[in-house]
Symmetry: C2
Subunit: 124 residues, 2 copies
DNA sequence: GGGTGTATGTAGCCACACTACATATTTATA
DNA sequence: TATAAATATGTAGTGTGGCTACATACACCC
């Protein structure tokens, strides 16, 4: 039972990141303003959360592919720099529009649960 | 393609609510302080969001069952009131603890993305 | 040659929000 | 007294996406 709870907790944490992560990637690309490659995004999240959250490669790359298949990002190979070649992703106008709409929808749905959202924001 | 985007957008909205909804139910039960039944929870969410979000029965009841199977809520039938009998759910100490830990984990993972979270909070 | 860091990728699993439908009871209305 | 509407709960099946586990390849250092 204790084991079960821990398993569920871990899963719930995962579930809470679902959807959020895709939108967060769009948001990160939008904010950065210039193309980023997958590994760079992983490092960015790791650094931003001070190592609290280090997404796995197997999590990030599929998301980027999905975003691209929807036309929300576009990628380009680049081997200018040293090391393995990188695939740079940049957000498209459709991606910006999608991100905006998704956040709006989420806000609409969550409007009224300000206390709950505050619990999610407040520093411990 | 346009159709595809709209479909995806709808799904992403759904995905963003994933996990959140389960935790939100725990939060609602915690805040209310007394047992609530499924239909009441649906109405509460509808009212709180001013009709912007009216969860379907098929969404809420399975969640409550899952929460109960994990020991986070406990239910009791009651036919005291008029109308069809109701199943009242109340949060357990394990449920409170789980909710607390999940929110903490989420905050840890999201720490550093304050700007993003602010975008999620700000009034339009 | 072996180890580490950089960089990308895929097959398969699992959980959960949602659709679509079914059922039963009570109350209001014609 | 039918019958429609509101109340109340439920379940089978679908789609999706985060994640695990693994594989590949290049550059550099020892």
């Amino acid at each position: 039972m204790i084991n079960g709870n821990q398993k569920w907790r871990a899963n719930l944490g995962r579930e809470m990141r679902r959807g959020f992560l895709s939108v967060l990637l769009l948001w990160i690309l939008k904010k950065r303003g210039e193309p980023m490659y997958g590994y760079e995004i992983i490092q960015t999240i790791a650094k931003t959360t001070q190592g609290q959250w280090v997404p796995k490669a197997g999590t990030i790359y599929p998301i980027l592919r999905r975003l691209e298949s929807k036309g929300f990002v576009k990628s380009e190979w680049s081997s200018k720099s040293a090391g393995p070649s990188r695939r740079y992703y940049r957000i498209t106008p459709e991606g910006r529009e999608a991100e905006r709409r998704i956040l709006l929808e989420w806000k609409r749905h969550m409007s009224g649960f300000r206390d709950f959202l505050h619990d999610l924001l407040e520093v411990d």
